[in-house]
């Protein structure tokens, strides 16, 4: 069944364009709406068995020889995420029906959205790491398409590209981690990898595996410093932001970290990286959120910060921390989803998302204001029993106080953690209040593009459902504890947390922490306009965005400069590179292998005529270099050719001598014919430097080739095959001219293709000259 659950959104995506094309009167969203609902109900129906510890799995073979399969596995953790994806997916689809006009390119929207939904389900249900990676990249691609939905806007394209580059960078490094992981454990199944956890931790690749996989998780979940893509992804339509950038995709990294926690959990490196980056992200994200003026940007930084908080809880690695992390995953999805939808409603009904232009909307949009109230106060963790955010935040404080480890390093940094947690939460409180009060209270502004009014009920329905969850879970947290949270915690930690969620813990330290947050947060919020200037010097000019832009543009410039520096377009230079490489590579090889030996055993005696001819050839060859006249150079070159044919005579190769004689004549004649067209030989003086370089390279090539020739003569390893040819030429080939018998009979195929080459060359010359002539006459 599971494979059909994953497949269903993809199939839906396939049919969306037909609905859009042929049924224009009805909003396309209505047709696809049932799918996530059905999926949600299906996953709900599995809840009973999963909470009893009966996990479902199903395998569809894909590339069995490489152990790459679509193997799906539903345990508590997958179930939690599947419920979030299908549930919020259904609400977002409903919301988008009212949010997006029928004139928009709805076919694109729903195709991308459903591909994303299927891919996300695939990520959380996959048990095979390669299947997981496949779906992981599909989420990156569909998210890229969704962010760039309004592709005629510059900012959308920039945001889409940025998120793509960063998440794919992480995705690829994650693939590297997976490959190492499956190499070390010898399996591609996550469950079997978990069973082989010791093997992974003891392996020499452990650090590499952990770093690569965490890089994937951190980029996807927008952890510092990879968080920069998320604020720019706010150019997407708001339903997309609500779905991808609050509830599902950004939690894929969280999911991955939680899923692989049984392998890595408990190691120092895991603790330091995950907790460290999580807390850093928590503080930085919440601090930066207060600076933003765009509603969605506030929410984006808020998401970053909340993800950091969840991540740091996973890093703590205690049983209670894991449980708190899972609880907060659920809570964050509910209140952040609703807040995004409210931000979308405000944008839709007032025409702006700029918080400086908004204010006093409470009376105009009472329902939205109520929804936002619950969302923001839950996010801030205000200690009232009907905010689910408070419950998980208090658990966060509690767990940050109880980090126990045998490692000295962990023990040393443990006291700082609660301080950072409180610090991040104070700013969380400030931006939550900032979001709510600056939008809904204060003076009404008149210059809004649209006259503000309450949104239609269809649009409000989805955030209402989510807020109901916020309140119900806040009031009765144990309602979801037994069926959802506990199985998920078991899936991550391995044993039941045995936790009863309660609002009141007595006068425990975490309560004082919460009260500190509220008190200091209130003070900071009320004095916001006095200390806001701080952003001018922190971060001030510092920004990870600048680094991204610098790297992004810098690499183009660097690549361009590098390419331009050696791809000069001058053939002279290219020949230079080739020869330098030849001399370098061959010379070094000759030197390293000690291949250069001289053996004088079987050298033939040299006669005077041979020396004479050789001398003449050498002189003629040298003369061609210094000739100032082209014709003269050709004729002198002819001397070399005829000298060669003489040498062939001396070395008793009559066929070669004859051929060389005629070919040399024909070549010289052709040169003379062609060179008639060329301009006078360029007598421009070259600079001394390049002449010396040319000379050095020419001489070294000559020396090298000579050395290779001597070395290859000196190290003959096998007896020559020539004896066979001489013996069998008459007997087998019926001829006494061994050369000719070899050419036409024994090695006839070579000759066949050589004459083919000649034919092609002739036709080529004919075509070149004739075509040029036709072009001229045209």
């Amino acid at each position: 069944m599971l494979q059909f659950a994953v497949l269903a959104p993809f199939l839906t995506a396939l049919f969306v364009p037909f609905f859009f094309r042929y049924i224009r009167t009805v909003h396309t969203g209505w047709f696809v709406l049932p799918i996530p609902f059905v999926l949600f109900i299906y996953f709900l129906s599995q809840m009973g068995s999963v909470s009893k510890g009966i996990n479902i799995s199903s395998v569809v073979e894909w590339v069995p020889s490489l152990e790459m399969n679509f193997s799906f596995y539903l345990d508590g953790l997958s179930l939690l995420f599947s419920l979030l994806i299908s549930g919020i997916g259904a609400l977002v689809t409903l919301y988008s029906i009212f949010y997006l006009n029928k004139n928009e390119k709805l076919n694109n929207f729903y195709v991308f959205l459903f591909i994303f939904m299927g891919a996300m389900l695939g990520v959380v249900l996959s048990d095979n790491v390669y299947g997981l990676y496949l779906f992981w990249e599909l989420t990156s691609i569909s998210s890229f398409l969704l962010i760039g939905y309004w592709y005629d806007r510059e900012a959308s394209r920039y945001g889409a590209l940025k998120s793509m580059v960063i998440t794919v960078l992480g995705g690829l490094s994650m693939l590297g981690g997976f490959i190492l992981l499956s190499y070390v454990t010898g399996t591609t199944s996550i469950r079997e990898m978990i069973a082989a956890s010791d093997q992974v931790i003891d392996s020499p690749y452990f650090t590499g595996i952990l770093l690569l996989i965490l890089l994937g998780a951190f980029t996807k979940s927008a952890q510092f410093p990879f968080h920069i893509w998320l604020p720019d992804a706010m150019e997407a339509p708001t339903p997309v932001s609500a779905f991808l950038h609050s509830a599902t995709m950004v939690k894929a990294g969280i999911y991955l970290t939680a899923r692989l926690f049984p392998i890595f959990g408990g190691t120092d490196l895991f603790f330091i990286l995950v907790t460290g980056f999580g807390l850093l992200t928590l503080c930085w994200g919440s601090y930066m959120a207060v600076r933003q003026t765009d509603l969605k940007a506030i929410l984006a930084f808020s998401t970053i910060s909340q993800l950091g908080m969840i991540m740091s809880m996973l890093g703590f690695g205690t049983k209670a921390a894991i449980f708190a992390a899972i609880f907060h995953i659920f809570n964050h999805a509910t209140f952040k989803g609703s807040l995004f939808m409210v931000a979308g409603i405000i944008d839709h009904e007032t025409g702006t998302r700029d918080i400086r232009k908004l204010g006093g909307l409470m009376t105009l949009m009472p329902i939205s204001a109520t929804l936002a109230f619950f969302g923001t106060f839950s996010m801030a963790g205000v200690p009232l029993p009907f905010f689910n955010g408070f419950l998980s935040k208090e658990m966060f404080f509690e767990t940050s106080l109880h980090i126990t480890s045998t490692s000295d390093l962990v023990t040393a940094i443990a006291p700082i953690i609660p301080v950072l947690a409180v610090l991040g939460s104070i700013f969380t409180f400030v931006y939550s209040m900032y979001f709510f009060f600056y939008t809904f209270t204060g003076n009404k502004k008149d210059e809004l593009p649209v006259k503000p009014h309450e949104a239609p009920i269809g649009m409000l329905l989805s955030p209402i459902v989510l807020v109901v969850f916020v309140i119900v879970v806040g009031l009765l947290p144990n309602l979801i504890n037994e069926p959802i949270l506990t199985p998920a915690a078991i899936a991550v930690f391995g044993s039941a947390p045995g936790k009863h969620i309660a609002f009141w813990h007595g006068f425990a330290p975490q309560l004082y922490m919460s009260l500190t947050v509220v008190a200091l947060g209130t003070v900071l919020f009320l004095t916001l306009k006095y200390w806001r200037k701080i952003y001018n010097w922190l971060p001030g000019p510092l920004s990870a965005n600048k680094v991204y832009d610098f790297v992004n543009e810098g690499q183009y410039k660097l690549a361009e400069r590098t390419t331009n520096s050696y791809m000069t377009g001058s053939l002279r230079h290219y020949v230079l590179y080739i020869l330098v490489f030849l001399v370098g590579a061959t010379g070094i090889t000759l030197f390293v292998t000690e291949g250069f030996v001289i053996e004088t055993d079987d050298l033939a005696p040299i006669s005077w005529p041979e020396i004479a001819v050789g001398m003449v050839m050498a002189i003629a060859a040298f003369a061609t270099i210094v000739m100032k006249n082209r014709i003269a150079a050709i004729l002198v070159l002819g001397i070399v050719g005829y000298g060669l044919s003489l040498l062939f005579v001396f070395f008793r190769a009559p066929d070669l001598a004859l051929t060389q004689l005629i070919v040399e004549t024909v070549t010289v004649a052709l040169f003379l014919l062609c060179f008639y067209h060329l301009p006078k030989l360029d007598t421009k003086k070259q600079p001394v430097g390049s002449r010396i370089v040319n000379m050095a390279i020419s001489i070294s090539v000559g020396v090298l080739v000579t050395m290779v020739a001597i070395a290859s003569h000196s190290s003959k390893k096998f007896e020559t095959i020539a004896h066979y040819f001489i013996k069998e030429s008459h007997h087998l080939g019926g001829g006494d001219n061994v050369v000719n018998v070899i050419l036409v009979d024994m090695r006839g195929l070579d000759t066949l293709f050589e004459i083919t080459v000649l034919g092609i060359a002739a036709l080529g010359i004919y075509a070149m000259i004739r075509l040029r002539k036709e072009e001229e006459t045209d």
């Binding site: 006839g748 034919g759 002739a762 000259i769």
Partner: protein, 149 residues
């Protein structure tokens, strides 16, 4: 332009046949003595070129209405079909055989299928050489005409 190069023309007319005969001799004797299709072909091309030099392109084009480009195709075809031929005797591509026959006038003569292959080489080489040289020469000729205008 009408120069008086009667000596050249007369000697060429005789020498061409000597060269052509030598070319055929090189070709035929290739199997047992230095020579063969390649050198023979080049030699024959040399003979034709001598004619072109002596009598000029225009005259030659009237007298020798041969398109040398066809030589390339025909030559390659002959060489290739020789190779195909060995398939009919269940032999690998380009297997050759030879035998001795009593021919009228020549007496006992060795005939080899390799000869057909060499004939292909011979024709191709003639075609290639002539095509290249004539194409370039004609090109140059027209440049002359254009230049004089």
């Amino acid at each position: 332009m009408q120069s008086n190069d009667i000596i050249l023309k007369t000697t060429s007319a005789i020498i061409v046949f000597v060269i052509l005969a030598f070319s055929v001799n090189l070709f035929l004797s290739g199997h047992n003595a230095p020579g063969g299709g390649f050198i023979g072909g080049l030699m024959a091309a040399g003979a034709f070129i001598l004619l072109y030099i002596s009598f000029g392109l225009k005259t030659m084009n009237k007298v020798l209405k041969v398109n040398f480009r066809y030589f390339i195709g025909v030559g390659l075809m002959v060489a290739f079909l020789t190779g195909i031929g060995s398939f009919f005797f269940n032999q690998p591509f380009l297997s050759h055989t030879f035998g001795y026959f009593h021919l009228p006038l020549l007496g006992k003569t060795e005939l080899a299928t390799a000869m057909f292959f060499d004939l292909g080489v011979y024709l191709t080489v003639i075609g290639v050489t002539m095509t290249i040289i004539l194409t370039i020469a004609e090109d140059r000729d027209e440049d002359f005409v254009e230049g004089s205008k």
